[in-house]
Amino acid sequence: MKRLSLILAFLTTASSTQAEDWRQFRGNQGNSIATGENLPTELSGGSIAWKVELPGRGVSSPIAVKDQILLTASSGYDEDRLHVMSFDAATGELQWDRQFQATGRTGCHEKMCVATPTPASDGERVFAFYSSNDLICTDMAGNLQWYRGLGAEYPNASNSLGMSSSLIVIGTTVVAQVESDAEAFAIGVDTVSGETKWKIDRPRKANWTSPTIMPASGNTPALALLQSSAGLAAVDPETGDVVWEFGDGASTIPSSSVIDGTVFIPSNGLTTVKPAADGKSVEQVWNSSNLSPSTPSPVVLNGLTFTVNSAGALSAGSIETGERVWQLRLKGPFSGTPVVSNGHLFFFNEKGLAFVVKPSADKGEIVSELDLGETILCSPAASNNALFIRSDGHLWKFAEQF
């Protein structure tokens, strides 16, 4: 009976995101789901629509706004040259590359780089963020709109291993988490003026997770979910007020995902919670120690949640119970979170191996594999039936062959 309900859930669960644009880390809703896309499931040389060279280094993911692919990079001996770039989504042509000098610290663990956080957009502006805590806003043509040197404003809020938290945009607020052992805060910045709307203290502990979005529901507006070693806080993006908290601790590397009102938190393995009726607290649905994610964040497809452990094993669990129902050995390790689209999971491991996995209720199958031959640590982006991925050296577009 349990198996039957799983199969039914697999067949009937619909995702909640519309995604022609892919405006921020792990998509518009920050849950890696690309709804309505038809991504190429047979990855091969023929599915590479274009590949372009990039300057310097970068671990950040691309984002897509209309016909533009926006990306960041950092270059120079000290990686103190910050790039914001725009590429033509159709051709890969570089449209503009604006460069800035970092105002904050640029030291990082060699696996990371200064351009690790993923930029975000509200459709009219690009917001770029870096390990140096430089927060830069340009318009879509690359004209500087405002510049916040959070590294200079708060010089102790840095991590000698590097900072990786990406931005989210909710309404007219850009939310950034700037959390380290020495100083930690979250900040809401006005998208138009660059002025601080709010700034709240956060647990003083190194934190590489990214904020995600709890979509609006009923009378409750969309909330920013801020994860840390202490747990998860839901924050009003207009005021910084904490609306509810989950206090059972959480990982400081993989981030939470929200799917259909359920929050999947990398906490004590994987824990799901739902807001209570009053919207001021959350109730735990289940906890599973068998679904503990390593660096990639949890994703959901057709009634199953998926996590990848440090050995590269993909685990599928029921979103109803947290019961692990199958595992599939992939070649790890993985840093990026897979994209979920047209019934498949699109993975890229750290060595540049791409896997397309077709999951069903009782098993997972690798339907396509491609070796890109370069280190890839970012999460892919999906837009207009195409998949975008970057290494330090290149940006690729994958699309169905014509």
Binding site: G149, S160, A182, E195
Partner: protein, 374 residues
């Protein structure tokens, strides 16, 4: 005559407006101060086109990094539009600017990179003469060219090229490569001196830092540096002892040279004699929590443990006075038991903003002088 007067007046007016707009950009500040005004000024300068390129570059001198980024962005917007519309940049003016070493290194580099887009041959013309340039980026390029020469040469020719390259090298990777080649060839290289590390200190401790509670505690050395004093420490009486290093990178290793006292903190002091009143950088590397005082003034403090360390991990601007300046460091160790969390050391060098060592004034450069420190 009237026409000429009008034209001159118009040119003066344009120039004044341009200067006003650049001043607006230069006054942009932290916390978004002056952003709306800077954006409007930038838009106006962009509309003025390529005649504003040189004034924008000249404005880098004396500007904050934040303001320089506004200037840079405005410059790039103008230059990008000019090139995309088939126009040209004022090559002669930009070239002259690149060669003017009193201008901002960042602005000169910006001009150079835009010139290179149309005139890549300029690299061969300009870079070989930039080994001692104030810009670390130009120096790096010049050193790289010499390294290529050295790698294809042999014997004394190779050594001479490496020696020459070392004169300009300010980056660790280049210095390491040069030093290895020269040492392999039997030459001596003093990396420690090249980078300006301070190798001789007096240290005192351990003081209590159990549960990391010692960081905010002002033990006696924070109040007075008395090198003859004896205090109650964590494990008994403590007094100042000399600690020096021959390490290439000036690492004073408390854990190895003394003991890895878990949950403790140490103080280290030395002096640096400055030839003049000047602004320099102290560049510190340590995996431990730390506080730094210069001449009794707390310059910076940072409570982070074991998140990695490297040369030039922290670049701390300092204002030194002519004569002897006293440096005091507080270095804290916690009680983490992981193998990667056992380091207890620091390295500190004195340099200018390009990373070039600024040695102490020569009349006091001797080690172990009357004060007991360098």
């Amino acid at each position: 005559m009237k026409t000429i007067a009008v034209a001159i007046a118009a040119a003066c007016l344009i120039s004044t407006v341009q200067a006003d707009e650049i001043d607006v950009i230069k006054s942009v500040g932290d916390f978004s101060k002056g952003t709306a005004e800077a954006r409007a000024a930038s838009d106006a300068l962009v509309k003025g086109g390529s005649r504003n390129l040189l004034p924008l570059l000249k404005a880098f001198n004396g500007s904050s990094v934040l303001a320089s980024n506004w200037l840079r962005s405005t410059f790039e917007t103008i230059a990008d539009a000019e090139i995309k519309s088939g126009g040209s940049l004022p090559k002669d003016d930009l070239l002259k600017f690149v060669k003017t070493t009193s201008e901002s290194p960042a602005a000169r580099r910006l001009a150079y990179e835009w010139l290179l887009k149309r005139s890549p041959q300029l690299e061969d013309q300009l870079i070989p003469g930039m080994l001692q340039d104030p810009s670390p980026e130009f120096r790096r390029d010049a050193v790289n060219r010499l390294l290529k020469v050295a790698e294809t040469a042999t014997g004394d020719d190779a050594k001479a090229a490496y020696r020459n390259a070392l004169k300009g090298a300010v980056h660790e990777d280049q210095v390491k490569k040069i030093a290895k080649a020269l040492r392999d060839a039997g030459d001596e290289v003093n990396i420690q001196q090249h980078f300006g590390f301070l190798p001789s200190w007096k240290v005192i401790g351990p003081f209590d830092n159990k549960d990391m509670k010692g960081f905010p505690v002002a033990y006696e050395p924070e109040n007075t540096i008395d090198l003859a004093a004896e205090y109650d420490g964590q494990l008994g009486k403590v007094k100042w002892v000399p600690l020096s290093t021959d390490d290439d990178y000036g690492i004073i290793d408390i854990g190895k040279q003394l003991e890895n006292y878990k949950g403790s903190l140490m103080y280290a002091t030395t002096t640096y004699t400055s030839a003049t009143d000047q602004n320099l950088e102290f560049r510190l590397g340590t995996p431990n929590a730390w506080k730094l005082w210069v001449n009794g003034k707390l310059i910076f403090e940072r409570e982070e443990y074991h998140r990695g360390t490297r040369m030039d991990q922290y670049k701390v601007p300092v204002t030194l006075t002519a004569g002897q300046n006293t440096i005091l460091l507080k270095i804290c160790q916690n009680e983490q038991d992981q193998s990667w969390a056992q380091d207890y050391h620091f390295q500190l060098r004195v340099c200018d903003s390009t990373g070039s060592a600024v040695p102490p004034s020569s009349n006091t450069a001797k080690r172990d002088n009357a004060t007991g420190v360098n």
